[in-house]
Structure formats: structure tokens, C-alpha cells
């Protein structure tokens, strides 16, 4: 099994994601350069955070057109697990693999702080191992992470249980205060209808080591690994 961590010009969590996988989980992972035109040999794809193309124009707007994204869109439609973290989430929305968009934080400020997340569904490759009852703790760090979608889209997300994570307080309650960026319905992460593509603003790649104050992020990657292994054994 091998997991790809895509490198766009301006990605800056690529090393963190790779470490989370190789040092945190001891699974094999490799960088995948944005000019590559194939994902063969990889079983899952991570789009890391950062400022691809400087986030110029719109976050993820330019990265979406890089050669690697064309093949990733195809792979995703064929069911390959794909997760976009922070800037990766923005790219997935721009690429149309996920609905909605991420706009400027309501505060207009970049926000770097820990948040509590409620797991809304275990039915994705990245959340299979997670416990809905226990909120996760990990950092956010973004200037444009406010999730927006038209009412119809939001309704569909809810009814099809595509909301994966929500910002909550320590006890798991959805509150105004626990929403760091003004996201609609406190949405922190979503998946596509097929459930193999997940996007999230918070950083599991910064919460996989006790010394960082939380290992909750590790659980997402462990879920992925288990899902892939069970898929292999079938």
C-alpha cells in the first residue's frame, strides 16, 4: 500500500502530511509532484495544506488546473480515497469534486487555534475508525475557511449525510463560539456523494504526536489504512 502526498508550488504542509504517515503511522507514502500525469502505484491521495500558487486569485483556483489534478479527478471518480486538508479542501471545491466553497473568515483575520470537532459520519475511508461520541481536538490555521453553499446544496449535504466534521465545543455541542471562521452550520469537513473524497479545514497532520497536544489526527490516517487493507483482503 502506498499513499501519495501531492506537492503544488506553495504547498507547505506536504512535509507534515508525509511525516504523519511515515513517522506517525509507519505506512509508505511518497510525494507526488504537480506536474506528474499519473497516480498509478498509489492507493490514496492526500492534498496537503499551504498556499498553492500563493492563494492568488482564489485559494485553490490555480492549483485546480495543474496536470496532476486532471488525473486525480479521474481517480476520485473511479473511487480512489482522496482527502484535502485546508488548502487541499479548497482545491477540491474549486475542482468541483466537493460542493460549495471556502470564503474569507468572518473575522477577516487568519486564525490559528485549536478546535473541537464532532464526527458526523463514520461512513468515509477517513472516519471509519472514529467515535461520534468523542470530539476530536486539532488545530486550524487558515484565512479563508468559512464554508459556504447555497441552501439547496446544504440541504442535500445534510440529507445525504455528507457533512463529516462540525466545529463544536469541548462537550460536543454546536455553538457560535466554537465556530472559528463563520462556516455555515459549523461545517468543518464534508465528503462527496460517493463518500471517497473528503475535505476538511482542520489539520490532522498537526495532531498525530502526543507532544503536539493531541493524537486525534492520527485516527483519520489509521482509518484510511484499515479501509485500504480490508479492501485489499476482500
Amino acid at each position: 500500500m502506498k499513499i501519495a502526498v501531492v506537492q503544488f508550488p506553495g504547498s507547505n504542509c506536504d512535509q507534515d502530511c508525509l511525516r504523519a504517515l511515515t513517522d506517525g503511522l509507519r505506512v509508505s507514502a511518497e510525494y507526488l509532484w504537480h506536474k506528474e500525469t499519473s497516480v498509478s502505484g498509489f492507493d490514496a491521495i492526500v492534498l496537503p495544506g499551504g498556499f498553492s500558487y500563493g492563494d492568488y486569485l482564489r485559494c485553490g483556483a490555480i492549483a485546480r488546473f495543474s496536470p496532476i489534478m486532471r488525473v486525480i479527478v479521474r481517480a476520485a471518480n473511479d473511487g480512489m480515497p482522496v482527502i484535502g486538508i485546508c488548502n487541499g479542501f479548497q482545491i477540491l471545491c474549486e475542482a468541483g469534486l466537493l460542493p460549495g466553497a471556502l470564503i474569507r473568515n468572518q473575522s477577516l483575520h487568519f486564525v490559528c487555534q485549536p478546535v473541537w470537532l464532532r464526527v458526523e459520519t463514520e461512513e468515509t475511508p477517513f472516519t471509519a475508525k472514529l467515535d461520534k461520541e468523542r470530539p476530536l481536538w486539532m488545530p486550524v490555521a487558515h484565512g479563508e475557511g468559512s464554508y459556504f453553499a447555497e441552501p439547496a446544496t446544504l440541504a442535500a449535504l445534510e440529507s445525504k449525510r455528507q457533512v463529516v466534521f462540525r466545529y463544536v465545543d469541548e462537550s460536543g455541542r454546536r455553538t457560535r463560539e466554537s465556530n472559528p471562521n463563520g462556516s455555515m452550520l459549523n461545517i468543518a469537513g464534508i465528503c462527496n456523494e460517493a463518500r471517497n473524497v473528503v475535505g476538511m479545514m482542520p489539520h490532522p497532520d498537526r495532531a498525530w504526536d502526543r507532544r503536539l497536544g493531541s493524537e486525534d489526527g492520527k485516527l483519520l490516517f489509521e482509518s484510511l489504512v484499515e479501509t485500504l487493507e480490508s479492501a485489499v483482503t476482500l
Partner: protein, 88 residues
Amino acid sequence: MMGALMKVHVIVMPKQSVLDPQGVAVRNALRDYGLDTIESVRVGKFLELEFRTPPGEIKLEELCRDLLSNPVIEDYKIQYHAGAESKQ
């Protein structure tokens, strides 16, 4: 040399349905500044494109839809006349 070039302006604005915190912030700033007749402000992008030979209208529209704006949150408008140089 600049004269030889053809200018196209693209204005990208946040959709009405999308709240525009930056616009709100500017409006409040204007009010605090003493301008109490200000009703609303919306902040968008103004792109000044210079072409050696401009692309066809269809191509340009496609460009605005795919790259220069995000239809989920933004509307765009193309101005062909090269009228709006910024003031010195």
C-alpha cells in the same frame, strides 16, 4: 508599445447571496468615518488583462467562468472597452 496591446477588464463580485464580510467592514469603517449616508458596500476584484491579440468572446467567457471567478460564490462582468485606466 503599450498602445499596441488590447485591454480587457473583468469585474468579479461576490454574489448577493454570499455575505461579504470585507464589504461590511468597509461600510462600518465609512460610518465611523462620519459617512452615515452609506447604505452598503461590496468588495470585488478588478482584473486588467492585456492581450497581444484578444481571444474570442466564447473563450473569454469560459475563462471567466472556469478560472477568474468561482460561479458558486461570484458573478463576473467583462468590459471590452479599455476605458478604465487607474487614475494617477
